[in-house]
């Protein structure tokens, strides 16, 4: 295995990530030269990296993309959607290659062909590419009419190819290009691509028979009768190449579990390194280095796994078309829903938790924001109100926005209501800016105040909305223009911090132990556990480890003393300890919530999380427990 491979992988993943985010930004702002520079540099560095580790096909593919990017950078032209999608496809290919390299240490066997497919995207005659994008391709009946002519042209090219001699290379180039163009014209995009690939191979190898064989194959295919539908169906499929792969959630969860196991294995190596160091073992330094490498790779793995668990906003947005229609009907207010950025992706956990807060905001907008039709007419607004649901990615953040074209929020009325209900003292209130006053709609109890005063404003349950969004580590912002409408914006992280834990049962209660601290799980025969003062301990790998009976620590009944002990060996804050449990459970990734209510401030508990079956898992704070 190449010694640079590890750094190559880490760096390449980062570059792919950066380039992807820059490309997505470019899609929104095609004139952003800085982003374009960023994309160019990322491709350039990827190319350099690939040639350092001797991955020729990848280097060639990156070079082709870089050339086009460089030309665009040098001109004043805007970045075209085609270029963006070609670049993204190229990065997808790179990602697949990186996966293969991570698995096997080398590019997969079909890398040359895959590289050619990428290169064709960037080297195909731009004029013919435009033809397929812009103009409607010849209709099926027209194709049938010109098919014999097209075959004749292709055969002509074949005859040109058999005569060698002077200028053979030029003839081959023009034959290849012409054949591909003819095929594009009659909507045989797949065939055209095959010709282009064969052309590239012929040019690099100097073997012209590759091209002529490809043309012959296509001619043969064209002579066979083709059903009309097949021709028509061919075009759109070729135009939008799929960039995604469907994977069963179960498989992703499996991956999450294996990652969890790896973390434990890594921690064990770390522990061994420490033992070796203390014993002055000559291998100590090597083990420590290996541990660091392991640590680094697993961190990357965790990031990659996180990236797998994404969902498009479409999943939540689609639920609103019915909601809005129903609300619109029940309120007698005509409202149309417009969604933008449905394809924006975010961590599954975030997308799935967005529905409730969004529903609150949408309901508010229709209840209180959108004016009755006659009022809208009087204000010179179209009677059909528009509600926008938008989403987009901003670097590491995802923004989701609900915008209405209703009456807006009257800040003066909020001031009045807040003053009347004494939610904020008059002095403080008078010193507040309008934006600060607007922020008061998030105060707990504000909505009730408004309902009592029967003020037709906003704010029903906005405190709940803010709480929900902040739990996801996001922020809620409100903008309003009186008479024009209101925008509520959620700024969310792309992914949530997940804590990998192993679940255990002790004293009838389920606990989660953060995997970061777990070194290993062992069974200790009862007779090997001895008393030290009032406490228990056992010896493992020549080390005395205090035994902590987890169930008893939290006062939930006693542990069984007659069987072998199931022990989770963990280390935190420099302390080593063995947690005796009744049963080991599963590895899982959980989103930690700070403890609330009864549990808050309870020593030894870092936080809680809801399990799939609705029960609460207490996640241990090992630093406390091991003290």
């Amino acid at each position: 295995m190449n010694e640079f491979l590890e750094y190559f992988l880490v760096e390449a993943r980062e570059l792919v990530e950066r380039a992807t985010s820059d490309l997505l930004m470019l899609e929104r702002a095609p004139s952003d030269r800085e982003r374009l520079d960023g994309v160019f540099r990322a491709f350039h560095t990827l190319k350099g990296g690939a040639s350092i580790v001797d991955f020729g096909p990848m280097s060639r593919a990156m070079h082709a993309a870089e050339e086009v990017l460089s030309a665009t950078r040098a001109s004043d032209q805007l970045v075209t959607p085609t270029l963006i999608s070609d670049c993204l496809t190229c990065l997808d290919q790179v990602d697949q290659w990186l996966d293969a390299v991570q698995d096997s240490g080398d590019l997969p066997g079909d890398a040359e062909a895959a590289a050619d497919r990428v290169i064709v995207r960037f080297t195909a005659d731009p004029k013919s590419a435009d033809d397929t994008q812009g103009k409607p391709i010849a209709t099926a009946s027209a194709v049938r009419a010109i098919l014999p002519a097209a075959i004749a042209v292709l055969q002509e090219q074949l005859s040109l190819l058999v005569t060698g001699g002077d200028g053979a290379e030029g003839r081959m180039a023009s034959a290849g290009r012409l054949a591909a163009n003819v095929l594009r014209h009659i909507a045989r995009l797949d065939d055209a691509k095959q010709i282009e690939r064969a052309f590239l191979q012929s040019r690099t190898s100097g073997d012209f028979t590759l091209l002529s064989a490809a043309i012959e194959r296509v001619v043969e295919k064209m002579r066979a009768p083709v059903p009309v539908e097949a021709v028509a169906a061919n075009a759109p499929r070729a135009a939008s190449t799929s960039r995604t792969l469907r994977v069963d959630t179960e498989r992703v969860n499996e991956l999450v579990n294996v990652t969890g196991e790896l973390i434990v294995a890594k921690n064990a190596v770390g522990h061994i390194a420490k033992l070796a160091m203390e014993a002055n073992n000559t291998l100590a330094a090597v083990i420590k280095d290996e541990h660091a490498r392991f640590d680094h790779l697993i961190e990357t793995l965790q990031r990659v796994v996180r990236g797998l668990r994404v969902l498009p906003m479409h999943v939540v947005f689609q639920r609103f078309s019915r909601q809005v229609r129903e609300m619109s009907e029940s309120h007698g207010k005509p409202v149309r829903l417009v969604t933008e950025g449905d394809k924006t992706e975010a961590d599954k956990a975030i997308v799935e938790m967005l529905f409730e807060p969004l529903l609150h905001v949408v309901r508010n907008a229709i209840d209180h924001g959108v004016e009755p039709a006659e009022q809208r007419a009087a204000a010179g607004k179209p009677s059909l109100a528009t509600l926008y649901l938008k989403a987009w990615r901003e670097g590491e953040r995802v923004v989701v926005e609900v915008e209405d074209d209703g009456g807006g929020i009257d800040v003066a009325k909020i001031r009045q209501a807040v003053a009347e209900r004494c939610l904020v003292s008059r002095e403080v209130l008078s010193a507040m800016s309008n934006a600060e006053v607007l922020d008061l709609i998030f105060l707990p109890g504000f909505s009730t105040a408004l309902e009592i005063t029967e003020l037709s404003g906003r704010g029903v349950g906005m405190d709940a909305v803010r709480t929900a969004i902040e739990r996801l580590r996001g922020r809620v912002l409100v903008e309003t223009r009186l008479g024009k409408g209101t925008t509520v914006r959620f700024v969310l992280p792309f992914s949530v911090m997940m804590t990998p834990v192993i679940t255990v049962e002790a004293g009838g209660q389920m606990f989660g132990i953060p995997l970061d601290a777990v070194i290993e799980t062992v069974r200790i025969p009862r007779e090997q556990i001895y008393s030290v003062g009032g406490a228990h301990a056992f010896v493992l790998h020549n080390q005395t480890i205090p035994l902590i009976e987890l169930g008893r620590t939290f006062g939930w009944g006693a542990d069984h003393a007659s069987f072998d002990a199931t022990v989770v060996v963990a280390s935190s804050g420099g302390q080593l300890g063995g947690l005796q449990v009744d049963r080991l459970g599963a590895h899982m990734e959980v989103m930690l919530k700070p403890t609330e209510g009864l549990l808050s401030g309870m020593p030894g508990i870092a936080g809680t999380t809801l399990l799939g079956d609705g029960s609460v898992l207490l996640v241990l704070n090992l630093e406390d427990v091991l003290q």
């Binding site: 640079f4 760096e11 350099g48 990296g49 040639s51």
Partner: protein, 125 residues
């Protein structure tokens, strides 16, 4: 000899350093990931020779080479780039830097060192 290697890609820096190790195991190396780090290294450490990447965010390798020149008029500088562009080669010559194609080969580095050391001897006998 102390060599300063400037490249925003760690992989690329490692590759260059590996070549140096093969040719001169006794030389030491300093790394910098961008222009600012490079200037700081040049001011703080004893640097005898610089190899820098042309394509970096912010100041490109040639701008940086020109700045190095002002600080250290006689120090050998090599600018490496994966793209052989006439313009880059010419600009390298203007600031008195040697152009090396990327990925750098042992042969190219050897030649650069031979002329660089020669030049150093010309300047400080």
């Amino acid at each position: 000899m102390n060599v300063l290697v400037v490249d925003d890609s760690k992989l690329a820096r490692m590759a260059v350093i590996k070549l140096f190790r093969a040719l001169h195991p006794d030389w030491s190396h300093v790394q910098a990931a961008n222009g600012d780090e490079a200037i700081a290294a040049l001011n703080e450490k004893k640097v005898d020779l610089v190899v820098l990447d042309f394509n970096m965010p912010g100041r490109d390798g040639l701008d940086l080479a020109a700045e190095f020149r002002k600080i250290r008029p006689t120090m050998p500088i090599a600018v490496i780039s994966a793209n052989y562009q006439r313009e880059v080669v010419d600009r390298a010559r203007v600031v008195g830097a040697t152009f090396l194609p990327k990925p750098v080969t042992e042969q190219a580095l050897k030649e650069f060192l031979a002329t660089a050391v020669q030049r150093r001897q010309d300047f400080d006998p």
